[in-house]
């Protein structure tokens, strides 16, 4: 059963089915938020807030859109709110996963052995650039879907991706 079909049932009154959505997205949202703000203690709270907010706004979900993009947008908003409120610093050990992404390493044309440097380079990126990298390489979203999540034009997603890669490469050149 697709997410969109489950949502229809939940909106229709079968609220128990929302448990399936939570099971499908809890881990995924945690991974997404963790890659953005690191191993912060409040990752779990942001994920819970996102899942609750998604439920509260289910009637506003446009079935023409992908549910995964919609819920990632909610998590993105909650994360941005959290960063603004707490003015938090990214904690580095939460973004270890970057080194295991083959596609990212190949795309950046960097040496795989230099994991620590990749880790540091991504850690230094501003949130908007890190987010594009995470959505494209980890969530495997297309530019079109990223534009839906970040509410920006597809061309701007392309520009942000290009700048993010440039910044990572520049970091490598300096080293």
């Amino acid at each position: 059963m697709t997410d969109e079909e489950i949502i229809k049932l939940v909106v229709g009154g079968d609220v128990e089915r929302y448990g399936e959505i939570i099971s499908r997205y809890e881990k995924r949202l945690r991974g997404f938020v963790k890659k953005l703000i690191g191993n912060n203690l409040e990752v779990d709270d942001i994920v819970e807030d996102s899942l609750i907010s998604a439920y509260q706004n289910l009637r506003g979900f446009d079935a023409k859109q992908q549910f995964s993009s919609w819920i990632l947008r909610i998590a993105h908003n909650k994360t941005v709110d959290f960063i603004k409120k707490k003015k938090t610093k990214i904690i580095s050990d939460g973004i270890d996963d970057f080194k295991d992404n083959k596609k990212l390493i190949e795309d950046l044309e960097i040496e795989k052995e230099n994991n620590i440097e990749l880790h540091r380079a991504i850690e230094k990126l501003e949130l908007k650039y890190r987010e594009v990298i995470v959505l494209y390489f980890f969530e495997e979203k297309s530019y079109e879907e990223i534009s839906d999540i970040l509410h920006t034009s597809v061309s701007n997603v392309g520009v942000m991706m290009m700048r993010a890669k440039e910044k990572i490469k520049k970091y490598y050149e300096k080293k």
Binding site: E16, Y18, G19, Q56, G60, S153
Partner: protein, 128 residues
């Protein structure tokens, strides 16, 4: 486990789904605000257009510096500001409506300006 915790909150009614009318209300109020801002832009542009039609630029030019001074002094700057305000806020509101965010803000500004321009022309020249 989050699943049980959230489902409990849903079942006890602590967390409720917002009614559909709330989303419709937000959608229509955004649309209304956009139309209002466009109206502001059109009224401002029409006012300036009307001013330029009354104060004939060719005639003013014949008076040299004095003619330009009259133009500077009498120009309805408030209408200009109104029109620019309507355009800027209109574009910001427009980018929140539907899928307009997919277009770059430059394209949205051009589209909004074109709509204001066309409505101004219609308002100025096609009056009964």
């Amino acid at each position: 486990m989050k699943k049980n915790k959230i489902l409990d909150k849903i079942k006890t009614g602590e967390v409720k789904m917002k009614p559909r009318w709330k989303f419709e209300a937000v959608k229509w109020s955004e649309m209304g605000l956009w139309i209002a801002m466009m109206g502001l832009g059109v009224v401002g542009a029409m006012g300036m257009g009307y001013f330029l039609m009354v104060y004939n630029l060719v005639e003013l030019a014949e008076f040299g510096d004095l003619g330009w001074q009259i133009l500077y002094e009498d120009f309805p700057y408030i209408l200009g500001a109104m029109s620019i305000f309507g355009l800027i806020v209109g574009v910001i509101v427009m980018m929140n409506i539907g899928n307009n965010y997919k277009r770059s803000w430059q394209k949205n500004i051009m589209l909004m300006s074109l709509i204001i321009f066309l409505l101004t022309i219609v308002g100025l020249f096609l009056r009964p």
